[in-house]
């Protein structure tokens, strides 16, 4: 419904009537936004953790991983979506491949930094106490790398929430679908609702991740 066709009608920033009658739509887009973000972040972490651990052991692999994902990260999301549509269609796969790839770079970098910063003395002590390599990794190195990994997670979560809105152009988008609706119908309300909720979601998710960090690694102060 294009409200703009009535010449004397001024489109308010929020049309509360429209909002009141579209609560289910808003909630559905919000939920889709959370889902798309969660998949991208969880899958990104699932790839980045082992990749970071392996790359930490070999200098050449480290360079290769950072180079390949660095180039991928440089490519704008719209270009990747456009290149994937002919192959994977207007699907969640098309949306998730770029989002996951971006998160892998952010997280792998922070896994590497976290592992790099484990003091040599600590590793020597762990070896001296008889830790085997795998136990040392799981019980000494990774816990000490947690603050850095959490910092990466927070960046990944907030970035992804912003980028998800762009997937509106391939028929997804979560809250971006409201922004897109506002654009094609020249109607302020969905645009403002989509924009504001996307920012609120990013802030809330960031605070939640910070709280989770405080619970998981109480010895490190959240940045």
């Amino acid at each position: 419904m294009a409200a703009g066709v009535f010449l004397d009608y001024v489109d308010p920033w929020i049309n509360w009537d429209w909002l009141g009658s579209h609560v289910p739509l808003v909630l559905a887009t919000l939920w889709q936004h959370v889902e798309l973000t969660a998949v991208a972040v969880v899958a990104g972490l699932a790839i980045a953790l082992p990749l970071g651990v392996i790359a930490h052991r070999s200098g050449s692999l480290r360079l290769a991983v950072l180079l390949v994902f660095g180039v991928f990260y440089t490519i704008p999301s719209l270009a990747l979506f456009a290149a994937l549509v002919p192959y994977t269609g207007l699907s969640g796969t098309t949306a998730e491949i770029p989002l996951i790839g971006y998160n892998v770079l952010i997280l792998v970098r922070n896994v590497l930094v976290g592992l790099d910063e484990v003091p040599k003395d600590v590793l020597d002590a762990a070896d001296g106490m008889g830790y085997r390599p795998r136990a040392r990794l799981l019980r000494v190195e990774l816990p000490l790398a947690m603050p850095s990994i959490f910092a990466g997670l927070r960046v990944a979560i907030v970035s992804t929430i912003g980028l998800v809105t762009i997937t509106a152009i391939i028929g997804l988008g979560g809250l971006g679908a409201l922004i897109y609706k506002g654009l094609i119908e020249s109607f302020h309300t969905p645009l403002v609702v989509g924009l504001v909720l996307s920012i609120v979601l990013a802030v809330v998710a960031d605070l939640a991740a910070a709280a989770a960090q405080r619970l998981a690694v109480p010895w490190a102060r959240a940045a």
Binding site: P86, G182, S198
Partner: protein
């Protein structure tokens, strides 16, 4: 014919290299939007970041402006600028400039903060006035991180300028948007390749510029010059 063959044909067609919808025109439009936005953003952001970093004031604000900027959806910001200010380059440049500012403020703040206090003391002891100290001692040492912020901003502006095609703007994003709308997939994929190429070229050119701007003394120190204070991706 395979899609890649059709894309190859698209690039080989002389029609696509001339006129108002030709690659050169669209590239110039894209660069015009991007360069103008980054320059305006730099004129606003760098003095603020440098001043805050030099005096060590409002550090939380300077650091958090990047976190806040990251949370703002670039697509929503473009559409908002379009709906408030209407058609044209002005609103697009306004939105792109807003996105360019945060990484440059944060990076230049951190860059000035990280200048060794001993070096600042030495500069004072040698009789540098405050302004001369900032311009001739602190800024040269801060170049790597400041330039990292400029690179981050420029890359995000180039990426977001692609989205300008959705609000009737020009630039290389036009091929993606038009190809998608008309289901001409070779045009869409060609646009994707051009946009990706421009982003990578931007990164390379600015990396070379950064190398040229870093003082020789710093380069000899082999200090890492690729570090970034703020990871920032909004498009």
């Amino acid at each position: 014919m395979s899609l890649l063959g059709l894309v190859w044909q698209w690039f080989m067609d002389p029609q696509h290299w001339q006129g108002s919808n030709g690659v050169p025109t669209r590239l110039v439009e894209h660069l015009h939007l991007s360069v103008e936005s980054v320059l305006i953003g730099a004129v606003i952001a760098l003095p603020i970041g440098i001043a805050l970093g030099h005096y060590g004031k409002f550090g939380t604000v300077a650091i958090n402006i990047s976190n806040t900027g990251r949370a703002i959806p670039s697509f929503g910001l473009l559409v908002l600028a379009f709906q408030v200010f209407g058609l044209g380059d002005g609103p697009i440049i306004l939105a792109l400039t807003a996105l360019a500012i945060p990484p440059m403020v944060t990076n230049s703040y951190v860059a000035l903060r990280e200048v060794d206090p001993d070096i600042k003391d030495a500069a004072r002891g040698m009789g540098y006035r405050e302004l001369a100290q900032v311009l001739r001692v602190e800024l040269p040492l801060a170049v790597p991180l400041i330039m990292a912020g400029v690179r981050t901003s420029a890359l995000q502006v180039v990426a977001t300028a692609t989205l300008a095609a959705f609000v009737a703007g020009g630039g290389l994003g036009r091929y993606i948007v038009d190809g998608y709308a008309t289901q001409v997939y070779q045009e869409m994929v060609a646009g994707a390749i051009l946009v990706a190429g421009l982003a990578l070229a931007t990164e390379l050119v600015l990396a070379v510029l950064q190398r040229a701007l870093v003082p020789r003394g710093l380069r000899l120190l082999k200090a890492p010059t690729t570090r970034r204070a703020a990871v920032f991706k909004v498009a």
